[in-house]
Amino acid sequence: MKLGLVELRRKPLRFAIAGSSLVLLSVLLLFLGGLLDGLFIGSTGLLRSQPGELVVYSSDAKDSLIRSRIDPEVRAKVEAVPGVSATGGIGVALVGGQLPDKTDLVNLSVTAFQLPVSSMPSDVSLAPDQALADRSLQAFGVDVGDTLLVGSAKTPITVTGWVSDTDYLQQGGFFVQPDTWREVLADSRPDSNLPPDTFQGLTVKLDSGADATTVADAIDAATGGATSTLTKSEAVQALPGIKEQNSTFSAIIYVTLFVAGLVVALFFALLTLERIGLYSVLKAIGASSRQIFGGVVIQAVIVALVSFVIGGVLMWLLTLVLPAEIPVAMEPARAVQIAVGLVVMSALGAAVSLRRVVRVDPASAIG
């Protein structure tokens, strides 16, 4: 109702306490959400950017690339399964890389690919000493043209271009030829000396119209149980820590939203108490409880929205000064989720005052 809006505009300071609490809670929510998304993005980019719909691991690998091995024999069986249109080998080595003139190591996930990932041109070609680096490595000082000394053997590899959203387990994506990867892997982990043409996993493209889960089952059957085939999203969820991260952060986010609702409830309960005199006059001159209550809810919603916007700006400023090691990502979908959550909790919080508004007696305006 208009009266509520006019009061907000003319007496904004009256809402300062609730507003500033909600600003702080918004920053906290955006930070938690950003951290959750940042951790998710930084852990799962390698899998999400794969061109195929399915990911094949060896069945003894517990759905982890690092433990998995797919030899050419198994791969041939996979490619023979109806519905499979193409496969590409994937391999990863989590190693450090040293930038020229710098002592700190940059965390790399040196990744072998045969089919280009989503952010690569389709005709990508690399020499054995070349790599495409993930843009997230820019924050650590990596640039196109830099030659990094990669892994324990300090293999020099030059960055010739960028890929994006390909990081794996918080290490920056670093895409190389399969033979370069095998070399880096063998140098860093002497137990991991893989024969040529053996990969850790496969990305599997399907014929159009083929059902992903049906083909996945068929692949595992065709290899006689030697493989464990997952859809891309199953593979992402199977990464270590992803589910736990998600449920932990979501729980904190929901509790924080609940606290926001409590703050609004308490604040508007006090405000309503303070306004009982005003409300009784309004009722005496013909305002209904519904109109008065509508005004209260609108005030709560607007205070929540304005606080969210201010919190968003503060969060954005915060991301400018946060060190690159804290992987905060600002995703529009997360911002919408938090904004909607805040508005709903504020409206519910304000609704706690409904009973008190309804019970205001117009006759007490007489006094």
């Binding site: 009266l3 006019v6 006059v281 001159i285 013909g286 209904s288 109109q291 006759a363 007489i366 006094g367």
Partner: protein, 224 residues
Amino acid sequence: MAALELSSVRKTYTSGDAEIVALDHATLEVGDDEILALVGPSGSGKTTLLSISGGLLTPSEGTVVVGGQDISTYSAKQLTAFRRDSVGFVFQAVNLVPFLTARENLMIVNDFGSSRSHKDAKARAEKLLDELGLSHRVDNLPGQMSGGERQRVAIGRALMNEPALVLIDEPTSALDTKLGEQVMELIVSEVKSRDTAAVIVTHDQRMTRYADRTVTITDGVLAA
């Protein structure tokens, strides 16, 4: 048709074990363009009678008919609409909305539900304030006005929705004699020019000369 008819209206309050009879078998009729002065000592039941007539209180016994509608059987919801559309109140204590200007304090009545457009409401509010001698105060907040000015804004608010009956409680008690007379004259001219009935409560006998008729109330009992 009478603007207000009270028949054998009784109102009792219970405070602790005691029963206070605020109004005892009050019967009263106010014509549709009549100004009635209601006088009586403090605690005699004046405000109670006004509140019952305006749908703020429900009588313990008896019937209340305003402009032909028997409001004694109304639900709380019906009473809200009745107060909005059919009566105008001026309370004993001036109760303006502190963060609204004089004009907005009048227009708010329109916001609660009226067929009148925002533009027409604005024009009417400004006309009323002008007639009440407040054209220089339309954009002032109540805190920036004198007691008499606030009283006049409250009168304007009561007249805003063109009620058939205006109920005014002690319009002059907070004002000095001269200002009190001015406010009374304003009320009379506003009410008379609109064919509206009015009940004006006062304990000041001098103010009764502005009324068409005076009724006295003592301990909840009316006497002509």
